[in-house]
Assembly symmetry: C2
Homo-oligomer: 208 residues x 2
């Protein structure tokens, strides 16, 4: 481990971190992201700071700024970490057109069923509903990137509106199933939900 004071005054400028930055290296970026997700999940958007994330990841705050920029950009990256859009979306969007709704429903439910991503996602949802800044990030970075990536592949009129309607359904299911825990939805088998919801997503995303 390289050394460097974490509790002393850290350089506030953005850009390339100094040579004293702690633990920079190939997996520092991923460690920062994991720490950011955990911090946002535990404290919510409002009470999470870049300094706190740096401390949790055992790096200098300058390194967080170097890799991600502002707190909002770290937040966006931490949300995307759960959805892994670069990894998963090409596969989902590249499959047979007639099963697109089913693949998207299974992907979304799978992310929420995974205990590693569920906690952070709940924190993000709560933050977005109670803090304007977090709502801005969700709207500006996450939804735009995720939904416009999906919309770009659709061959329907108003693809972004349709992608939003599909997303709204999945968000609402997350609210009722995982937050409000309304029965029988909260205890329903995930595959049963996928089977019920897939035709809805398919209609929005593929039915002209």
């Amino acid at each position: 481990m390289t050394t460097g004071a974490t509790d002393g005054p850290a350089p506030r400028r953005r850009g390339r971190p100094s040579r004293t930055a702690k633990a920079a290296g190939p997996d520092a970026r991923s460690r920062i992201l994991q720490a950011a997700r955990a911090e946002f999940a535990a404290r919510g958007y409002d009470r999470t700071s870049v300094r706190g994330i740096a401390r949790a990841a055992d790096v200098d705050a300058a390194l967080v700024h170097h890799y991600f920029g502002t707190k909002d950009e770290v937040f966006a990256a931490a949300v995307e970490l759960s959805f892994e859009p670069a990894l998963v979306l090409p596969e989902i969007l590249g499959g047979p057109a007639e099963d697109l709704g089913e693949r998207l429903a299974r992907y979304f439910i799978g992310v929420w069923e995974n205990p590693v991503s569920r906690g952070p996602l709940l924190a993000i949802l709560r933050s977005a509903l109670t803090h304007e800044a977090a709502a801005n990030v969700l709207r500006g970075f996450v939804l735009r990137r995720l939904l416009e990536r999906i919309a770009a592949d659709l061959d329907v009129p108003d693809p972004t509106l349709r992608a939003e309607l599909a997303a709204s359904h999945m968000i609402g299911i997350a609210v009722l199933r995982y937050v409000v825990r309304a029965e029988p939805l909260a205890s329903a088998d995930p595959e049963r939900i996928v089977a019920m919801v897939a035709p809805t997503l398919q209609r929005y995303l593929a039915d002209r």
Copy 2:
């Protein structure tokens, strides 16, 4: 106006209010409900009290307890005030079966488009997502009453699950349109949303 100290100690027992209760009368109940809705909207679930509601309605706290019981029950009644289920549901459920989805979508969007009910509904949604007690009320009183009232009229398998799936879609639209304000959904004409969403609700609620 009848008189009575509002800031002195009020009887804590539930039941019939004493003769000194302020402003009891045919519209006291409705005034309490309006005040409750405004208080929950302005302060959120956590920081609203029966005493505060009574003060805002200019009645004794005992009268609030008399009409509604606990704070949770006032909360449930305040939520229901926006949806007016007793007034509206018979009409929606009694119409032609093939347009049920469209009537429900228009009703729900209409409640959210109405500025009088939107603020309180947003507060309720935020409270339910951040406070376990408010989520319990939403689950226990509101959803059960509203959704099971709808489910009871459906001639499909698993009517409550289907009513929840329909409700989840409308809740998700509320989140993306009114809270996150994702475009183009946030600016879309309400009737356009109704036209897009109605077939989805119809499938859940009527398609065996």
